[in-house]
Symmetry: C2
Subunit: 294 residues, 2 copies
C-alpha cells in the first residue's frame, strides 16, 4: 500500500496533464478569454474532485483512461464555480490560492465569461470522450448537470447569497452546505463509478461516501476559516463570520462542528465497508479531509 | 400554406407551454433563484431559436414532440447569455424587452447565478428527453456546447468586450457576429435536424441556412439599434455606436450593411433549394429576419 501522499501526487500529475490537453491552448482566439480560463484552472488546486472520480472508477473496476475526461470535467466545473463565487457581486474575494482572483487579474466581464466558457467546455469534454458509450457519457453528464445546477451547487450558492440577510440556523446551513459542496463532491465520486458502469449497490455506497466527505469537507473548510492563517490558506481568513456567513461553526460552535465532521468521516468509512483493501485511497482521503491544514 | 404569423404564433405557444413544464416551479427552494430564472425566460421573447429547431426537425422528417426539449434548451441557453450580457461588467443594460433586466430586478449576484443555473439546466433538459436515443441526445448536446462555448458564443462575447478598446474592422466585426450570434442560431437549426436524425447532406444545407440567417439577424439588429426607437425595441437604442461597439454598420455604413443582410438572406434561401414546398416556414423566417421592426 503506497502512502496517500504519493498516491495523490501521482494522480494530481495525471490530472494536470489531462487538463492541459483538454483545455484549448492559451493562444486560441480570443486569447485573453482562453488565458483567463487557464489562469484559473492552473492555479495549484488540490484536484480533490478528479482524484475522487479516478479512485471511484478504479474501485468500481474501470480500466484505462476513459474516466479522465469526466474527472477533469468535474474539476473544470469546480473552477468555474470558484471564479463566479469570487466576483464582487458574490463573495468579493481578491485572493484565491495565494494569487489574484480571476476578475482581479482579467476584469469582471472576462471573469464572468471565463466561468461561462469553462462550464460549457466541461460538458463538451465529456461528450468528446469516445472511449465511453453514449449511455455512460449521458449518465455522467446527467450527474454533472443535476449536482451543479439550480437543484445543486447553483442553488446552494443562491441560498448562501440570500442567507447573508438572515441569522443562520442549522437547517439553512445544512441546505447550503449540502447543495454548494456535498452534492458536487458526491457527483465527482458518482461520475467515476458511472464511467466504470458500476452496479446499483456499489454506486449507492459510493454516493453515501461522497456526500458524507463532501459535507465534512465544507465543515473542515469553515473551521479552517476560523482557525487557519492567511498564509496557510492562500486567501483571506475569518471573513465568513464578519460577513454573517452561514457556517456550521457559527450555529453550533467550533467543538460541535469538529465533532460533526468526524462523525461524517465515520459514516463515509462505514459506507466503504463492502469494499476490500483496494478502497484504501478513498478511506485515506476521507481521513485527510478533516485533518488537512489548507 | 398558412401565414407565417399564425405559424409563429402556434409554435410560440407550444414553446411557452414546454418551457413552463421544463423549468422548475417558481416556489422551488431557493425561491428567488427560481423566480429570477423564470422572470428572464418568460419575458416575451420571439422564441426564434426554438421555432427554428422545430421547423428544421419537421423538415428533416422528425415526428412527435421529441424536439421540444432540445428546442427549449436552445432558448434557455439564449436567455442565460442575455442575462450575463446585460450585467454591469458587460453591456450594462437596465432594460430588456421593456422590463428591468434580471440584475436590476434581482441584484447582480442572483442574476449571475440565474444565468449559471439556466445554462446547466439546458443540458439537463436535453439529457432527460428519453424520446431521443442516447446518441441523438449527445449529438444535440455537442452542438449546443460547441456553439455556445469559448469557440462559439462565449468567445464572441469576449471578443466583443475586448473590442470596445479598439476600432472595429471588418474582420473583428465578422468574428464577433459569427461567434456571438450566427453559431448559436446555426446550432438551433442543427439541433432540430440532429433530433430528427437528418442525413449529412440535409444537415449541411440546414447549417448553411442557419449560419446565413444568424449573421443576417445580427446585422439587422445593429441596423435596428441605429434606426429603431426605444419604444419599438423595448430597450435602449443607439447605445452601440456611443460605446464604440463593433457593429457592421459602424464599419461599412448603413446601406452596405443592409445590402449584406439581404445578400445573406439570398444565401439562406439558396441553401433551402434542395427542399420542396414544406420548407416554406424556414424561407419565410429568413425573409422576416431582415424585415422585422424589433
Amino acid at each position: 500500500m503506497a502512502s496517500l501522499e504519493s498516491y495523490l501526487a501521482g494522480k494530481r500529475e495525471a490530472v494536470e496533464r489531462a487538463l492541459d490537453r483538454l483545455l484549448p491552448p492559451a493562444d486560441t482566439p480570443p486569447e485573453r478569454l482562453h488565458e483567463a480560463m487557464r489562469y484559473s484552472v492552473f492555479s495549484g488546486g488540490k484536484r480533490l474532485r478528479p482524484i475522487l472520480a479516478i479512485a471511484a472508477y478504479e474501485l468500481a473496476g474501470g480500466e484505462g483512461d476513459a474516466v479522465m475526461a469526466p474527472a477533469c470535467a468535474s474539476e473544470i466545473v469546480h473552477t468555474y464555480s470558484l471564479i463566479h463565487d469570487d466576483l464582487p457581486a458574490m463573495d468579493d474575494d481578491d485572493l484565491r490560492r495565494g494569487r489574484p482572483t480571476c476578475h482581479k487579474a482579467y476584469g469582471e466581464g472576462l471573469a464572468i465569461l471565463a466561468g461561462d466558457g469553462l462550464l460549457t467546455l466541461a460538458f463538451a469534454i465529456v461528450l468528446g470522450e469516445d472511449a465511453l458509450s453514449h449511455e455512460r457519457r449521458n449518465a455522467v453528464l446527467r450527474e454533472l448537470a443535476s449536482a451543479n445546477g439550480p437543484s445543486g451547487m447553483v442553488g446552494g450558492q443562491a441560498a448562501d447569497l440570500e442567507g447573508e440577510r438572515s441569522a443562520p440556523t442549522l437547517g439553512s446551513v445544512e441546505f447550503i452546505h449540502t447543495h454548494k459542496t456535498a452534492l458536487p463532491i458526491e457527483a465527482a465520486v458518482a461520475i467515476g463509478a458511472l464511467s466504470a458502469g458500476a452496479g446499483e449497490d456499489a454506486l449507492a455506497a459510493l454516493r453515501t461516501y461522497g456526500r458524507a466527505i463532501g459535507l465534512a469537507f465544507q465543515i473542515a473548510d469553515d473551521l479552517l476559516d476560523e482557525r487557519g492563517t492567511e498564509d496557510e490558506m492562500g486567501k483571506a481568513v475569518g471573513k465568513d463570520r464578519g460577513r454573517g456567513k452561514q457556517t456550521y461553526p457559527a450555529v453550533v460552535g467550533l467543538d460541535k462542528a469538529e465533532e460533526r465532521a468526524r462523525g461524517l468521516t465515520d459514516e463515509a468509512l462505514a459506507a466503504l465497508e463492502r469494499f476490500g483493501g483496494e478502497a484504501w485511497p478513498l478511506r485515506e482521503i476521507a481521513r485527510f479531509i478533516v485533518n488537512r491544514r489548507n
